[in-house]
C-alpha cells in the first residue's frame, strides 16, 4: 500500500501516522504510569480507574506507531 503514496524522495503517509501514534502513545503511557505510581485521590479518579487504561492503551499505540515508523521510515523505504 505504500508505492503510490510516496515518490522516490518522499515520506509515506503511513510514516506520519506512525509518528502520530508513537508520540501520542508515549505521552499517554507516561501519564498512565505516573497515575499508577502517584494515584490521584479517590474523588478524582475515572470510572474503572483500576484497569489503568492509559498504561495498556498508551503502550499499544506506542508499539503500533513504532512499527509503522520503522516499517515506513524514509531510510528503509529508500533502500
Amino acid at each position: 500500500m505504500t508505492e503510490e503514496t510516496k515518490t522516490a524522495s518522499s515520506v509515506s503517509i503511513w510514516f506520519f501516522i506512525g509518528l502520530s501514534l508513537l508520540v501520542n502513545g508515549v505521552l499517554i503511557l507516561g501519564a498512565g504510569v505516573y497515575e499508577v505510581v502517584q494515584p490521584p485521590p479517590e474523588a478524582g479518579r475515572v470510572v474503572l480507574f483500576g484497569y489503568h487504561a492509559g498504561v495498556w492503551w498508551g503502550a499499544l499505540l506506542a508499539v503500533l506507531g513504532g512499527f509503522y515508523c520503522w516499517h515506513f521510515s524514509p531510510k528503509r523505504v529508500a533502500k
Binding site: 500500500m1 503514496t5 503517509i13 501516522i17 502520530s20 501520542n24 499517554i28 474523588a43 470510572v47 474503572l48
Partner: protein, 567 residues
C-alpha cells in the same frame, strides 16, 4: 465521586491536563508540517486539485470515509443514539453501505473513464453547460456556507466542553486548515484525513471497550436500556412497522426508500466532497476498491459512535435532554453524551487524544469542504465562465487564492451564524435540497442514453425547486407534514426522508418527459459517459481476492448479517 461528575463545572464539561494539551499541540504541529512538506508536490493542476491521481485504494478509501466522519457527525449521532436508540445505526448501514457499493461497481467507472475533475464536470460532458453551471454554483456556495456553519458549531462545542473562547477556536482551526490546504492542495487534505481516521479510532475506541466492561457485556446493556427507555431502543427493524411504534417516528418505507435508496445514494455518489477523494485514485481498480474499503470501515463506525450513545443511555447517572431544554435548565443535552463518556473513562492523556480526535474530525471536514470548493470554483465556474485561456500555473494560483478566500467566507459565515442562529437551520436545509435531485440527474445520465441536455437541466431544476417548496410548505404550515411524510406522527427526520424521495421522483419524471420531447444526442457524444455506449476497461488478470466484485460481495454479506443480528 467519579471524575466525570467532579470535572463538570457549570461552564465546561472537562478540564485538560498539561499532557492533554501537549497532545493537542502536537497534532497542530504535525498537520502544519505535513502541509509544508507537501508544498513541493503541488505544482501542477493535476497535483493541486487531484492529488496527482496517484492515491492507492486504501488512502483514497480511508479519505473518502473520513471526509464524512466529522466531529459534529460523531457527537451528533452519538446524541441521536442516546435519543433514538440503535435506530441511529441505519444512517451508517442501510444509509451508506448499498450506496457505497453502487458507487464502486456502477458509477465509478463512468466518473473515472471520463477523466472529469468533478461531479459538475461530468454533468458538463453529459448534459452541457447549463446543468454544470446550476450544479457547480449551488454546490460551491453551499459547501463554504456549510463549512462556516460547522465551524461555528464546533467552536461552540469547544466552548461548552473545554471553555475555549469561540474566536480562538474559529481562527486557530481555520488558519491551520488554510495553511495546509493552500500549500499542499488535495494531497494535503487527503493525508490529513487519513491521519484523522487513525486518531479518531485511537481516541474513541476505549469508550465502547470500557463501557461494555462496566455494563457487563452487550446482553446486560440491552437490559439496562430496556429498563431505562424501552425495548425498541435496541432493535433496528422490528419497530418500524408503524410510525408510532419506534422512538424516531419513522416507517420502514422511509428508511428503505427515502434514506437507503435516495438520500444516501445522493450523498455518497454525487456529493463532490466525498467523490473527489475517489477521483484521486491511481487506476480504475483502486477507484472501485476505495468505496468498498470505505464501506467495510463504515460498518464498524457505529462501534465508536452509536455504542457510546447507547452506553450513555444505560450507564450515565444523569438524564440528558434536548438542546433547547438543556439551555434553560443548565443540564446536559443529548449531544453532550460523547464528551461525557470521554470524561467518564479517560484520564490524563487519553482525554487529550479524544479531544484531539474531535478537533481533527472538524478540521479535516473543513479541509474537505474547502478543497472541493476550490476545485469546483476553479474548474467549473472560473475557467468556463470567466477565464478559459489561463495557463495551468494560473489555475493553480487561482486554486491557492480560492482556498484562502473559501476559508475567509467560511469564517464570515461562522460569525453570521453567531449573530443569528436561525441562519444555521436555513443553510443546513439549503444543502439538503440539492442532493436527491442531483442523484436523479447523474444516475439517469449514466444509465439512460436517451436522456438529453435539456432533460438533465430541467429535471435538476424542478427537483430542487420541488424540494425547496415542500420544505417551505411545512415551515409555513407544520400540519402539512401529514402530506409530505405521509403521517401526522412523522418527525423531522422522517420529513427529510420523504422530501428527498418526492424531489427525486420529480427530477426523474421531468428529465424523462423533457428528454423524450427533445432531440436525442448522437451515440458518438455519449461514449465514455453512458452505460451501453462505454467499454469499461478490464481490471486485469488479478486473483479473486483483488477483485472489487469479490470484496463488494463480502461487504454486502456482512451488511445483511449485521442487520439480521440486530433486527
Amino acid at each position: 465521586m467519579h471524575l466525570a461528575v467532579l470535572v463538570l463545572s457549570p461552564t465546561t464539561l472537562v478540564h485538560l491536563s498539561p499532557v492533554d494539551l501537549a497532545i493537542i499541540v502536537f497534532y497542530f504541529a504535525l498537520v502544519l508540517a505535513i502541509g509544508v512538506y507537501l508544498k513541493g508536490r503541488a505544482n501542477t493542476g493535476e497535483d493541486f486539485f487531484m492529488a496527482g491521481r496517484e492515491m492507492t485504494a486504501w488512502v483514497a478509501g480511508l479519505a473518502f470515509l473520513s471526509a464524512n466522519l466529522g466531529a459534529l457527525e460523531l457527537m451528533g449521532w452519538a446524541g441521536s443514539a442516546y435519543q433514538y436508540g440503535i435506530l441511529a445505526t441505519h444512517w451508517y448501514w442501510i444509509g451508506a453501505i448499498p450506496a457505497m457499493l453502487f458507487l464502486a461497481l456502477v458509477m465509478m467507472p463512468f466518473y473515472y473513464i471520463s477523466k472529469t475533475h468533478s461531479v459538475p464536470g461530468y454533468l458538463k460532458l453529459r448534459f452541457g453547460e447549463p446543468a454544470r453551471a446550476l450544479s457547480a454554483i449551488s454546490f460551491a456556495f453551499m459547501t463554504v456556507l456549510m463549512s462556516g456553519v460547522n465551524m461555528f458549531a464546533m467552536a461552540k462545542v469547544m466552548q461548552i466542553v473545554l471553555g475555549w473562547d469561540i474566536n480562538f477556536s474559529i481562527w486557530v482551526s481555520s488558519l491551520t486548515v488554510a495553511v495546509y490546504v493552500t500549500l499542499g492542495g488535495l494531497r494535503s487534505a487527503i493525508f490529513n484525513e487519513v491521519l484523522q481516521f487513525f486518531l479518531i479510532w485511537a481516541g474513541a475506541l476505549l469508550i465502547p471497550i470500557l463501557g461494555l466492561t462496566e455494563a457487563g457485556g452487550w446482553a446486560n446493556l440491552k437490559v439496562l436500556i430496556t429498563q431505562r427507555a424501552s425495548e425498541q431502543y435496541v432493535h433496528l427493524w422490528s419497530g418500524l412497522g408503524s410510525f408510532s411504534a419506534n422512538p424516531m417516528g419513522i416507517h420502514w418505507t422511509g428508511i428503505v426508500f427515502g434514506l437507503g435508496a435516495i438520500i444516501s445514494m445522493g450523498y455518497w455518489t454525487t456529493d463532490f466532497l466525498v467523490v473527489q477523494r475517489i477521483l484521486a485514485a491511481k487506476d480504475i481498480r483502486s477507484a472501485e476498491m476505495a468505496p468498498i474499503i470505505g464501506a467495510g470501515f463504515k460498518m464498524l463506525v457505529p462501534i465508536i459512535v452509536i455504542l457510546p450513545g447507547l452506553l450513555g443511555l444505560g450507564l450515565l447517572p444523569m438524564k440528558l435532554v434536548p438542546e433547547s431544554v438543556a439551555t434553560v435548565t443548565h443540564g446536559y443535552s443529548y449531544n453532550d453524551v460523547l464528551p461525557l463518556m470521554l470524561a467518564r473513562y479517560c484520564g490524563p492523556g487519553l482525554l487529550g487524544l479524544g479531544i484531539t480526535a474531535l478537533i481533527a474530525g472538524f478540521m479535516s471536514g473543513m479541509a474537505g469542504n474547502v478543497s472541493a470548493f476550490t476545485t469546483v470554483w476553479t474548474y467549473d465556474i472560473y475557467r468556463p465562465l470567466i477565464n478559459s485561456k489561463g495557463s495551468d500555473h494560473h489555475y493553480v494560483s487561482m486554486g491557492r487564492w480560492t482556498t484562502i478566500i473559501g476559508v475567509l467566507i467560511s469564517v464570515g459565515t461562522a460569525y453570521l451564524v453567531m449573530r443569528s442562529a436561525s441562519i444555521m437551520d436555513y443553510v443546513q436545509a439549503l444543502f439538503s435540497f440539492f442532493i436527491a435531485p442531483l442523484f436523479g440527474t447523474v444516475v439517469l445520465g449514466m444509465l439512460w442514453k436517451r436522456a438529453t441536455g435539456p432533460g438533465g437541466f430541467w429535471g435538476l431544476l424542478c427537483g430542487t425547486v420541488s424540494s425547496i417548496s415542500m420544505w417551505a410548505w411545512v415551515k409555513v404550515d407544520p400540519s402539512a407534514l401529514r402530506y409530505v411524510a405521509l403521517s401526522p406522527d412523522a418527525k423531522a427526520l422522517a420529513q427529510d426522508m420523504y422530501q428527498a424521495l418526492w424531489s427525486f421522483i420529480v427530477c426523474v419524471v421531468v428529465t424523462v418527459v423533457v428528454s423524450l420531447a427533445t432531440k436525442p444526442l448522437p451515440d458518438s457524444a455519449l461514449t465514455g459517459l453512458v452505460y451501453g455506449q462505454t467499454e469499461i476497461p478490464a481490471i486485469g488478470d488479478v486473483p479473486l481476492y483483488q477483485k472489487p466484485l469479490f470484496w463488494a460481495g463480502v461487504v454486502a454479506a456482512v451488511f445483511v448479517i449485521l442487520n439480521i443480528i440486530f433486527w
